[in-house]
Amino acid sequence: MKRITIDPITRLEGHGKITLFLDDQGDVENAYYQVPEFRGFESFCEGRPVEEMPRITQRICGVCPLAHHMASVKAGDAVYGVTPPPAGRRIRELAYNAFVSGDHATHFFVLSGPDFFVGPDADPAQRNILGMISKLGVRLGQRVLRHLGESHEVIAMLGGRFVHPVMALPGGVAKAVTPEMQTRLIEIGESMVEFGQFSLGLWRDMVLGSQEYHDMIMGDTYLHRTHSLGLVDANKQLNFYDGNVRIVDVEGHEVAYYPPADYAQHIAEHVEPWTYIKFPYLKHFGWQGMVDGMESGVYRSTPLARLNVTEGLSTPLAQQAYEEFYDYMGGKPVHATLATHWARLVEMLHAGEKVLAFARHEELTDPDIRTIPTETPHEGVGIVEAPRGLLTHHYITDEQGILTKVNLIVGTTNNNAAICMSVKKAAQALIGGGKEITQGLLDRVEMAFRAYDPCNACATHAAPGDMALEVLVYDHHGELVADLSRVPAEGRA
């Protein structure tokens, strides 16, 4: 048995490792995606005051701290049975949509863009954002950096700081919006909408315009027929910040629609001893292992899954992009994993339109931004759509609001089984059959899991580089027979 270990996977949030086992013919027998890291937040959050949790749980992820901040404060609202005043809620939603817009752009342009605009068969030293800029032009690079900067600016303006902001607490937000701030927020909103349209245009021209990418997107190598899950508003339309969870099955039929507090009736988490992250599945179907199809409990919670779940989008430009997406892909639901990139860009435009709408709201500057809680605290669940998937915080407290039990199901975890399956399927399709294992083939394996943006990827904000693999091939005696690792890092900056 040969073994290929991809360890460490670089340019990701946290640590990751992929091990491929080859049989005697050199075909892929099995593939394991492992998360070799454990930090224990569910344990040490016990004993903490619930209002501090938005600041504490951010430290789970410095790349998407605002997602944890919002899920946590919504759980805090629920624990106290308190509703923020309209301006408080608007400020939260404005910030959150600006965050989603920036985060999606980071993933697409910094991490995945090079696969499409430079290409998997290019020299790996060129397959990064710098290579992409040299191909598409410096003005594109400047435009991307400006967009990321504007997303950071909104969060720092409303929350004091970009990494680990201090915006929200149970009952509302800490800081009101002034008319000067509103003027700038409107400018940024307009810029975000424009950037969303620009990005979709780029996708249309550069990716869909290429026969090779069209075939990769529509082909079987990157296809998994799974159930889809997402957060929707009262119209069953996508909402990143609030709503009920809706699940549609492989065929697109609704199988569940529930308020956040009912999450444990629908989701359970399987445990494997070889990775520190668990495998959530739909209880409706049960855990059947890592397989797709109608009978399986495996679901996805990604930009693609969210579009499969939503009944259209509430903003006009994104709605148009959504219709174009399903027309092109041949109807709803879509299961082509690589189409997740396209769905992410549709969401990015939607988030930009939402930022602009909130920024223009005449009552955004209302100074009434907080409701002081008066109820006795007890239990609450807060759910948001993190860029990578549904994020659930569940807190139980004593009468003082001190946590006694905490449960967290984070975005990427939802997709753990699907990521494992996607890596395995792509590896089996691409490696073996006596073919030489080339860098281009390995990059195509990487593309299988990069589509999920496993909260890994996002750490590359504006930094150069393609996701590197250390690929070591061992024979069945455990002897190293080939080292297919990427270019050395020395000298690159």
Binding site: T10, N30, Y32, Q34, E37, E42, E51, I60, E269, T460
Partner: protein
Amino acid sequence: MDKLKLAVYWASSCGGCDIAIVELGEHLLELAKLADIVFWPCAMDFKYSDVEAMDDRHIDVCLFNGAIRTDEDEHIAHLLRRKSKVLVAFGSCASEGCIPGLGNIKGPDHALARAAFETPTTDNPERVMFAPRYAMPEGDLTLPALTVQLRTLEQVVPIDFTIPGCPPNHEQIWNAITAVVENRLPEAGSLLGVDPRTVCDQCPRTRLGKIQVERFFRPHEILPDPERCLLEQGLVCAGPATHAGCGALCVKAMMPCRGCYGAPDGVLDQGSELLDAIVAGMAGESDAEIRRVVSTIVDPVGTFYRFSLGASLLHALKKSPLESGQRCETQRDGARGEGEHA
């Protein structure tokens, strides 16, 4: 002059320190002119074997973020110490343990049990535990094992400097980098790039007089006056016991400081320093009055030691360095979890 050889590493961390470096923005392009980044797993291709193949002291400066939570973190800490002329504990996790240092109160066995067996959505009837080595039908899979305690970098290897903050402010990072490039390094063991005062000195709020708190409030319970000292208004604020450097970002955003820049110069234990400041600001003469005021503070350990428990004197009393680096009970050889796939 040869370009500076710079390395950036993350051990047990959230990634926010790496983002703070990316936040250098245009300075990042200047940095590319001044330094070769020889190792940065967050942003660039690398292999551990590249680092192992380097001569000792090949790296001029290594910015090490993240705490030491696993045996792998410890291994990399030793490796990078050997390969680096200057090793910097970068950010709160590496320098003082940060929020995950609160995990030392109950320890990793509690945390593993919560995650693997006990949360309401966990489905694990056979009580499978995460295993450092596990035999699958095709071969063994390995995971780094958790150590008994989360440790700071300095508790594992000698360090040269510290850049505090969760995460460090990007201006401060740039100050530190230029100090290195221009060979203006302070005395070994110092903090790099920060204002030598406390957060209170950078805070724009005004204090009316001697603080006389009659009861403490929690942040969600009151709407504080936007101009006045938060501590004076009864909100526990770590400003007086926290090193300056951030520019008082949280207090300017209407929220109290929680102390992520660590202890001020000359203070060994941030939590006891904050306790001292809080007690000094309490109203009341009799024991009963003092007791009543104290009782309005919830979660004292998690508040006073929010970021610094890992580096606190409490930690030093608890475990020897040798013990604290051992695998936790749950993951010791032969413990449940090690085994064959069913």
